[in-house]
Subunit: 216 residues, 2 copies
C-alpha cells in the first residue's frame, strides 16, 4: 500500500515530473486562449479544453481547480505580455513623449491584431464571469490606469494633483483605448493599425493639452 518514496515523481521519457507538469500546464493555457477565444468562456467545457490541449481531464485538474481558474491565469498572462511589450516599446523611445505615445499605442494594437483569440479573451470573455473575475479585471484595469496617471503626472509636474479627478480621467482614457480596441476586434480589424494609433493618440494628446491649461 505504501508507495516507495524513491520512485515517486520520477522522470518519464527522460523528462522530470516538474517539467512534464509545466508543459501540460502550458498546453492547457494555450488551449484555453484558443478555445475561450473562439467558443467563448461560457460555451467552453473542460472536455473541449482537454481535447484542444491533447490531454485528458485528469491533467486539467492537476493544474487548475476549474475552468475559471484557467481563465484567471490566462488573463494575467496576457495582460502581463501587453504590459511588457508596451514597456519595451516605450523604453526604446526614451525621453520623447510623442514617440513614446506612438510606440506604446502601436505595440498595444499590434499585439491585439496578432493575437485575435487572446484579444477576445481579455476584451469580452473576461467580463461577467463571476465576482472574483470581475474584481481581477478591475484590478488590472486600475493598474493600467495608474501607469497612465504616472506618465501624465510626469508630463505636468507643476500641476497640483487632484487624486479623485486624476484617477477618473485616467480610467476614462483606458476605457477609451479598450473600447476602440473592442470595436476594432468585433469589426474583424477592419481599420489599419495606423488608423487605430492615430485616433487613440488624438485623444491622449487632447487630454494632455487640456491638462497643460491653467485651471479655471
Amino acid at each position: 500500500m505504501t508507495a516507495n518514496p524513491t520512485t515517486r515523481g520520477r522522470a518519464y521519457r527522460g523528462v522530470s515530473i516538474e517539467q512534464r507538469r509545466a508543459e501540460r500546464r502550458e498546453k492547457l493555457i494555450q488551449a484555453g486562449i484558443t478555445v475561450f477565444g473562439s467558443t467563448g468562456f461560457q460555451g467552453t467545457t473542460v472536455r473541449a479544453l482537454c481535447a484542444e490541449a491533447g490531454l485528458t481531464e485528469r491533467y486539467f485538474y492537476e493544474s487548475f481547480s476549474n475552468s475559471e481558474a484557467l481563465l484567471r491565469t490566462i488573463y494575467l498572462r496576457l495582460t502581463d505580455q501587453i504590459r511588457e511589450r508596451v514597456s519595451q516599446a516605450i523604453s526604446g523611445q526614451q525621453g520623447q513623449p510623442d514617440a513614446m505615445a506612438d510606440a506604446a499605442l502601436r505595440s498595444y494594437f499590434e499585439f491585439l491584431h496578432e493575437h485575435p483569440a487572446a484579444a477576445r479573451v481579455i476584451m469580452t470573455e473576461i467580463m461577467g464571469v463571476s465576482a472574483e473575475v470581475d474584481a481581477l479585471y478591475r484590478r488590472v484595469m486600475n493598474e493600467f490606469a495608474g501607469f497612465l496617471l504616472t506618465v501624465f503626472r510626469g508630463l505636468h509636474p507643476e500641476r497640483p494633483a487632484h487624486p479623485v479627478q486624476d484617477a477618473l480621467i485616467a480610467t476614462g482614457m483606458i476605457g477609451a483605448l479598450v473600447n476602440m480596441a473592442m470595436r476594432w476586434l468585433l469589426n474583424d480589424f477592419k481599420e489599419s493599425v495606423t488608423d487605430m494609433v492615430t485616433a487613440s493618440r488624438f485623444i491622449l494628446i487632447a487630454v494632455n493639452n487640456q491638462l497643460a491649461l491653467p485651471e479655471p
Copy 2:
C-alpha cells in the same frame, strides 16, 4: 377537441388577455433587471426569474424563448431609457454647449446611481453572453457613438470630416464614459455624481478643444 373560438383569449378577473400578457411580460422584465443585476446573468435560472416575478415557468416561455431573449429585451429597454433621459436633459439646455454636456453627463450618471441593478446589467452582464448579444451591445454602443459624433460635428461645422478617425474618436469617448461608470459601479458609487460629471466633462472638453485646432 376543437376549442370554441368565441371563448378563447377571453378576459380574466376583468382584464383582457392582451393586458394580462403584457403585465406578465413586464413583471418578468422587472424581475430580470433585479435578478440579473444581483446574481448575474450566468448565475440566474429561469426558475429564479419566475420566482422573483411571482409567475411560473409557463408564463416565462409565453413571453420569451429563453433567458437570453429576456436579457436582450432588458438591454434595449434600459438603453432606450438612458437615451431618452439624456435627450430630455439636453433639450432642456437648448443652444448652450457647456450646459448641454453637463446636463447630459449628469443625467447619465444619475440614472446609473438610481438604478444600480440596471447599471450592472448594461455594464457587465451584457458582455460575453453570446455572439448575438455581443452584436447587440456593439450596435447600441455604435448608436451612442453616432450621437456623440453628431454633436461634435455640429460644434465644428467648418472642420472637414474624417469618417474613420471621427468614428474611432467617438467610440473612444463612449468607452471613456462607460469605463468610468463601470469603475464607479464596481466601487459601489464611492465618488459623487458631481465628481463623475466633472471628470467626464473634462475629457469631452479636451477632445472638443483639440477638434477646434487647425490640423497638422
